[in-house]
């Protein structure tokens, strides 16, 4: 089985934000979107919803700027992770992340980010629409192709193949 990656699909998202709450409850035992590692960005005037979260970058800016080597890649999980033993709370990583995915918990005085729930992401588990999904990377292309091809194939099957 190939490594899995977390993907999001705004076409499927209904904007309910359940992913945010299960995330903060799972990690911090509280309901608070400000502590969630995932956030549904909404354009309410158009009805467009996009779940945003850590992209687990290959060349991760957060990792690059960390002066204490507290951020590393977990290759087995394909995940960028924080070592709180080394972290000094300087917040350079918060500023460096181009996606806003490194958070700062002001109350506890520490950074936080998506850890893929160690391979069982709760946002995925609770999203009935699968707007957030966790799929094997080497199958991603054909999954997306099948979804995109559904409309085309329906037309072909309805009107004949040529």
């Amino acid at each position: 089985m190939g490594k899995k990656i977390l993907i999001t699909d705004p076409e499927k998202c209904t904007g309910c934000r359940l992913c945010e709450i299960v995330c903060s409850v799972k990690h911090d035992g509280v309901s608070n979107p400000a502590l969630a590692r995932i956030h549904v960005v909404k354009w309410d005037n158009e009805g467009f919803y996009l779940p945003m979260r850590c992209q687990q970058c290959r060349e991760a800016p957060c990792l690059a700027v960390c002066p204490k080597g507290a951020i590393s890649r977990n290759e087995a999980l394909d995940c960028v992770q924080i070592d709180y033993e080394r972290c000094i709370g300087c917040k350079l990583c918060v500023q460096a992340c181009p996606f806003g995915a490194m958070g700062w918990d002001a109350e506890r005085g520490r950074v936080f980010k998506c850890d893929l729930c160690q391979g069982d992401p709760q946002c995925v588990r609770f999203c009935d629409m699968k707007a957030v999904d966790y799929v094997e990377a080497d199958r991603l292309g054909c999954v997306r192709m099948r979804e995109a091809g559904e409309q085309y194939s329906a037309l072909l099957r309805r009107f004949g193949r040529g």
Binding site: C16, L18, I21, K26, N32, L35, E46, G47, F126
Partner: protein
């Protein structure tokens, strides 16, 4: 934690605010949300208050489980004395306002007085500001939220507001959040308008601690699976509530041309399947996997390209069957306009249909309507009428007064055509073939309404053992139950049970689609007890939750009695008894309600609640529920 949210007392006349903790004793007696609001209204609103005067008390609240892991814990409740009925005003809406209110640190707002000039409230992390809103006055619901988010420079702000209808004191103006979430019924928007309160904006980052997080996470997953595994949820996930219009119309349970027919033939264009053409996807309230409404773009006409949400089945009724229209575009535009002006779609549809029948009968003429011909199925006239009501122009000014005041102005000959209970119009449904549903609208504590106690599952003719499992608990009811929806026996119990389960979810802040509304297999008292425990740590037995709901429903009753309601008001319009239905399936055709049997149902309903033959709670009931005379308002 979930129990440390505050109650805020806000006086708009003096500009003073204070916050207090919510006593644990109140949680044990009223839970929160609608239940606690009922107690607060009964206690703080002076008897015989002018609903549009500064003495009326406006309550805005989030239920006890809002923002927690309880599924679809999204609901905001709004309560005040109603300017429409002069009795209990109460409205409930989904969206994202209520959880944000809790993250901002509040559960209940108690708003009194009247601001000299338009204002809005800004609540953020425990702070309350009363801010100027002159620049917002005149703006619709969509623009108001836009302008406020820009002013506050925070697109995450959640806003509850009124549109022009609330400013113009349309007596059925609603309170809105987002594009379509409507605290629709009983004119709560007019109460805000009369207080010069345009909006409440809130934003918060305060954690709600979950008492047993890991167990709550697992239990919520179980509840979600329970909800989305039912057939009705799966249909709702795909089509939205619009499917209800289709099935009830096919049976013959839809009010058409006011009350002349019980079915709209050739309705294909406004059926839910057709919404696929304009839908850009479904939309969920906070934490909800049922996502029962569409996001859509209006396809044609002057509003082409407008983005809106819905339409619910009630709008298919209001801008379709009730007024004899068959155009999807009219339903889409009508739904958009009532949401943007901030008016109750049910009341608008019903008032228009009544006016059209009066026009047909010659009781209203073009002289009365400012030249508008109110012909059945005239799409343009319908849309024009919506605008005239919102801005109170000519005939619209009369209709904006709501059923009874409008009938007073038009004359007594208009009264027999009015489909209302306690001065509030019914939705688009026709209950003549369904005695249980008819009893519900007659006795509901806020006037004709399905969301107070409709036993909708009665329509399925379920096997008796299924009904026994639902309706015998949690108080061990041993009386009769019947499973044919054309029968009268055992139906009062179903109404009473539904009233209390809806009171419970409204107090928890959970959506009715996540309890026994459309499925007998959805969560109810037992599941509520577990959800409360895992999320808040409070221990309630299922019977205790039942008792709390009974206490709160009885307080609503006491409020209505104090304001002058009598047994006579728990009654249906004559047409329900005198005009048999003309269309529909055999089971729905040629039906009307039997007066004597209905009277017997009403007696039985009172008895079940522990109220006397006049519908007044007996001293024993008050003692059992621990309800005392309200102390004078502090």
């Amino acid at each position: 934690m979930a129990l440390n949210r505050k109650i805020a007392f806000i006086d708009l006349t003096t500009g003073q605010t204070r916050t207090e903790p919510i006593p644990l004793d109140w949680r044990r007696k009223y839970i929160g949300g609608r239940g606690l609001d009922a107690y607060l209204l009964y206690t703080h609103c002076p008897a015989q208050a002018d609903p549009l005067g500064p003495e009326n008390v406006l309550l805005i609240s989030a239920g006890l489980l809002v923002g927690t892991l309880a599924s679809a814990s999204a609901r905001t409740h709004i309560m005040a004395k109603s300017p429409l009925t002069g009795l209990l005003g109460s409205a409930n809406m989904g969206g994202f306002f209520a959880p944000e209110l809790r993250w901002a640190g509040f559960d209940h707002l108690v708003i009194r007085g009247r601001a000299e000039k338009p204002v809005y409230l800004y609540l953020h992390n425990g702070e309350i500001e009363i801010r100027r809103a002159e620049n917002l006055w005149g703006a619709g619901v969509y623009d108001t939220q836009d302008l406020l988010r820009r002013e506050l420079n925070d697109p995450e702000t959640q806003i509850l507001c009124i549109g022009q209808a609330g400013e113009n004191l349309v007596r059925f103006a609603n309170v809105m959040t987002g594009r379509k979430n409507a605290g629709g019924r009983t004119g709560m928007g007019a109460v805000m308008g009369a207080k010069n309160l345009k909006a409440v904006a809130c934003r918060g980052t305060q954690s709600i601690a979950i008492r047993y997080p890991q167990e709550a996470l697992e239990y919520n997953k179980q509840i979600i699976d329970q909800v989305v595994s039912t057939k009705v949820s799966q249909i709702m996930q795909r089509w939205g509530t619009g499917f209800i219009f289709g099935v009830t119309n096919t049976t013959g349970l839809v009010r058409c041309r006011n009350f002349q027919y019980n079915q709209l033939p050739n309705s294909e264009d406004i059926e839910c399947e057709n919404l696929d053409k304009v839908s850009i996807g479904l939309d969920g309230c906070f934490g909800c996997q049922v996502h029962c409404r569409h996001r859509y773009i209006i396809p044609e006409g002057p509003y082409a390209g407008t983005y809106a949400q819905g339409p619910e089945y009630t709008s298919q009724g209001a801008f379709g069957a009730e007024v004899g229209c068959r155009s999807l575009n009219t339903v889409l535009v009508g739904n958009h306009l009532v949401n943007d002006y901030g008016m109750d779609t049910l009341e608008v549809g019903s008032m228009m249909a009544w006016a059209m029948e009066l026009f047909e009968k010659g009781i209203l003429t073009e002289k009365d309507t400012g030249g508008l011909r109110l012909a059945w199925g005239d799409d343009e006239a319908v849309i024009e009428l919506v605008k005239r009501i919102a801005f109170r122009r000519d005939i619209g000014d009369i209709l904006a007064e709501g059923p009874l005041r409008a009938a007073e102005r038009i004359g007594p000959q208009s009264l027999p055509y009015l489909i209302h209970v306690k001065g509030m119009s019914n939705l688009h449904s026709d209950e003549r073939p369904t005695p249980a549903l008819a009893l519900n609208i007659a006795v509901s504590s806020r006037g004709a309404d399905h969301l107070r106690g409709r036993p909708a599952i009665d329509l399925y003719n379920l096997p008796l053992p299924v009904l026994e499992r639902v309706y015998r608990n949690p108080d061990g009811y041993t009386g009769p139950l019947t499973n044919r929806y054309s029968e009268y026996e055992g139906k009062p119990r179903m109404v009473q049970w539904q009233e209390l389960v809806y009171m419970a979810v409204d107090s928890l802040g959970v959506c009715k689609y996540h309890t026994v509304f459309l499925s007998p297999n959805h969560p109810q008292f037992q599941e509520f007890a577990r959800l409360i425990y895992l999320n808040t740590g409070l221990e309630f037995g299922e019977k205790e939750i039942w008792d709390i709901a009974e206490r709160c429903y009885t307080i609503e009753r006491l409020f209505n009695l104090r304001e002058g309601m009598t047994r006579k008001d728990d009654w249906l319009p004559d047409r329900y008894f005198d005009e048999p239905t003309r269309l529909g399936l055999p089971v729905a055709r040629g039906k009307c309600i039997d007066r004597e049997k209905f009277r017997a149902m009403l007696d039985e309903y009172y008895r079940l609640h522990g109220w006397d033959e006049n519908g007044v709670p007996t001293p024993e009931t008050l003692a059992r529920l621990g309800i005392a005379e309200p102390k004078p308002a502090a």
